[in-house]
Subunit: 101 residues, 4 copies
């Protein structure tokens, strides 16, 4: 799936650090879940923690998507032509996967 040059650097440095920080926190939640299962924590508490991790992941996805629409898609649209349509279709397919996951 096309990594072309003008996608590099699409994230402002601050945004990138923010995404990484959130993903490290999610990694911590997943390790916490492993401990909970290993220690046989109460099932409902495990499920609550899974819901929290899922929401945190979706939140990272929505933030990345907003950047993507505002940068890659916007740039392609300004250039116009078939690449613009292709970017809109590609973003729409990614949105559909998020909505259905």
């Amino acid at each position: 799936m096309g990594v072309s040059e003008h996608q590099h650097g699409y994230l402002a440095a601050g945004k990138k650090q923010d995404h990484l920080k959130r993903l490290r926190r999610i990694e911590g939640q997943i390790r916490g879940l492993q401990r909970m299962v290993a220690e046989e924590a109460y099932c409902i508490d495990v499920l609550t923690q899974i819901s929290a991790a899922t929401k945190a992941l979706q939140s990272v996805a929505l933030s990345l998507l907003e950047d993507h629409l505002g940068h890659c898609v916007a740039e392609a649209v300004q250039h116009g032509g078939p690449e613009a349509d292709e970017k809109v279709r590609e973003a729409s397919a990614a949105i559909a996967r998020l909505v259905r996951s």
Copy 2:
């Protein structure tokens, strides 16, 4: 949220290992996501990986929930009384959180 004695051991040993294995794989996906963001992988590829991790988490949740319904909730229902109603309400609330996350 009440960890009482009869919840311990609600997971057959095989099930527990299976949940742990899946959670370790999800942890690997989250670390992969960090690398992708650090290296500024193409946004759509990051989103695809987030959808995969989200589905994997939900799948662990659904599997835990089925065990919970078949063990903790079933046991409470057999004892009857207010605890049975409470367990059904608690499970329903957890299901609602999953559906909405």
Copy 3:
């Protein structure tokens, strides 16, 4: 999919009227959506209305599911045997469809 006798009457009269009232309101929302599309209302407003109708539908589902767990599944569990396991599996599959839709 097994409609057997003891499922009839699983809904208290009040609950049934409440579900019907909510479904009629959702039907009204869907007709409102048709008007919006026919009159080419602003796309974002149409999407907001679709999100509202989706949440309302899920809310009916969660309410029905809680009744089902507290009645049909609880009853089967009290009788025990393979039917109890079957009811738990069937409810779990319905929950999975809700989580994934």
Copy 4:
């Protein structure tokens, strides 16, 4: 929420008819659900039908969203300026509501 002139006619005639047809089918599903509840159909069958209607609604939403990104958002982006950013933010908020509903 701003219905401005250039949004009118954002739907090709064929698309509009397609959306209306799908919404009428969903209205039929909701009426079917009312009959099922009135006749006390088996709960799991009602839930299956709710999942189907939910998926159908989301599918209309995703199709409208793709049109919106390809027309309203693309047009605003080509004009540039603060309206472009505003359209991207507005679309992102609508996507977030869909993902969370």
